[in-house]
Amino acid sequence: MAEKIVDVKNIVKKFGEKIVLNNVNFSVNYGEIFSLIGPNGAGKTTTLRCLYGDLFPDQGEIKIFGSKFNPNLKDRIAVMTENRISFSRFKGDDYRKLWSMLYPKWNDEIFNEFVIHYKLNLGERVENYSTGMKVIMNLALTVSSGAELLILDEPTLNLDPVVRSDMLRILKDFAKEGKSIVISSHEIYELEEIADAFAIIKEGRIIYTDTIDEAKAKHRIGGRNEKISGEIIGTVGDEVLYRTDKDEGRYPTLMEISIAYIQGQKRFAPFERSDL
C-alpha cells in the first residue's frame, strides 16, 4: 500500500489569464485528516475540485491511491461540495438509490443509522429539507459510500452545536479505519480538534504545510514588544507568531498559526492612531 493517499505536486490552474493555483504541493497519508485553511478566494475549492477530477490542472501532477488521477478511481472517493446535494425533485430515497448504484462498497446499514438517528424523511424531496438536514443527508451519503477518501468542503457549515459535535466524532472514527479525509473549512477550532495535518493556502499558493503537532512545536507566540529569537511570521492581535527552536514564549493554537501566516505582519487597527 502506498504511504500517501493523495500526492499533489506543483499544480498550476488558470481560469483564462488568471492564475488561481500556483505550484500547489501537499500530500495526505492514509488514515489522516488533512485540512485546507485559507481566506475566501484563496483557491481551496479549486484545489479540491482538481483532486476529484472536476477541474484539470494546467500543470503538475495529482496522484490518488498511488496512481496518477484517472476517473476509474472515483468510486473510491466521496465528495461533499460546497453547494451540497442539489438535484431537483430528488427525494432522500432517490439519493440513497443513486449513491448505492454508483459506489460498489455502499453500506446501507450505516446510512440507515443516520436516517433513524436524525429522523431523515426519505420520502420527502431533499430540496425541502432545512439547510442543516441537507448537510446531514450529504454527510450520511458520503460516509456510507464506503469510499476510502472523503473530500469535504465546509462539512459542518449550518449545523447546530450538537450535530456538529456528532459529525466531528463520526469523521474522526472514519479516519481511524485507515481512511482519509481532506477538509476545507473556516472552522479552525474544529479542525484543531480532528485534523492531523494541514496546509495554509493564500492567493493560490501553499504558504505552510505541516502536521498540527509539528507546527505547534516549531512556533511560539510572544508579545509585540518582547525580545524574541526567531523568524517573525505574522501578528496575531497584540502578539506575534514566530518560528524558533528555543524554549520561550508560549505554544500557539492552530488558529493563531493560521491567522499569522495568512495575515503576515500587516495589522488592521482602525482605532489606533499615532497622534493619540
Binding site: F15, G16, V20, N40, G41, A42, G43, K44, T45, T46, R49, Y52, G53, D54, L55, F56, P71, K74, D75, I77, V79, M80, T81, E82, N83, I85, S86, F87, S88, R89, F90, D94, K97, L98, W99, M101, L102, Y103
Partner: protein, 200 residues
Amino acid sequence: MIQKLEAYFMKDFIEKGGALVVFAILMFIPVDFLRGIFMILMITIVLSHIDPYRRRKESISELMALPFSYSEIFWFPFVFLVTIVTIIQLSVGGIIDLGIYLSFSQILHSLIFLTAYYGIFNIFAIAGLSGGGFIWLFWVADMILGSIGPESQNLYRMISPIFQGNEIAALLFAVAILVVSFYLFSKKGVTKRWQKRSSM
C-alpha cells in the same frame, strides 16, 4: 459501466421526466418539421446542466463530484436521447405501418439530426454561450442555408442536418460535429463562464 448508465438514466428521469414525457408524446406527430423542434427541446432539457445560462445550481459540478468521468457525462445523455428517439420512431413506424425500410430511414434521419444538434449544443456551451439559445440560431441558419437556390446546386443541403440531401454526407457531417464537440468537452469542459463567477 451499465450500472452507472442506469444510475444516470434514473437521475435524468427523476429530474426531467415530466417534460421529456410531454415532448416524447408530441414527437408522435408524424411531421418532420415539428419532430425536429421537439427533438431540439429534448436536447435542451437533457443538457440543461451544461448550459452556462440555464444552470441553476452548478449541477455539472454535482455530477463530477460523483463517480462519473467527463466522457460519461458527455455520452450518457446522448445514449439517453438516442434510446428515447429510437423507441419513439419505432413506435411511430409500427403505428402507421411504415414498413421496415421506411421505419429504418426515419430512425436514421432522426438520429442524424439528433447527433448534429447534440454536438452543436455542446460546442456552444463549451464556448461559454447559451446552448439552449444558440441551438435555435443554428437551426434557423441550417434552414435558410439549406433552402437557398435549386436543390441540386445547393451543396450545403447535402450535409444539412435538417434536409439531409445526401444521407451519408449528412451522417458524416453530424458525426464530425459530435466528435469535435466531444474532443472540446473532454479537453476544456464546460466550466468557462461558470468558473469565472464561482468561488475559488
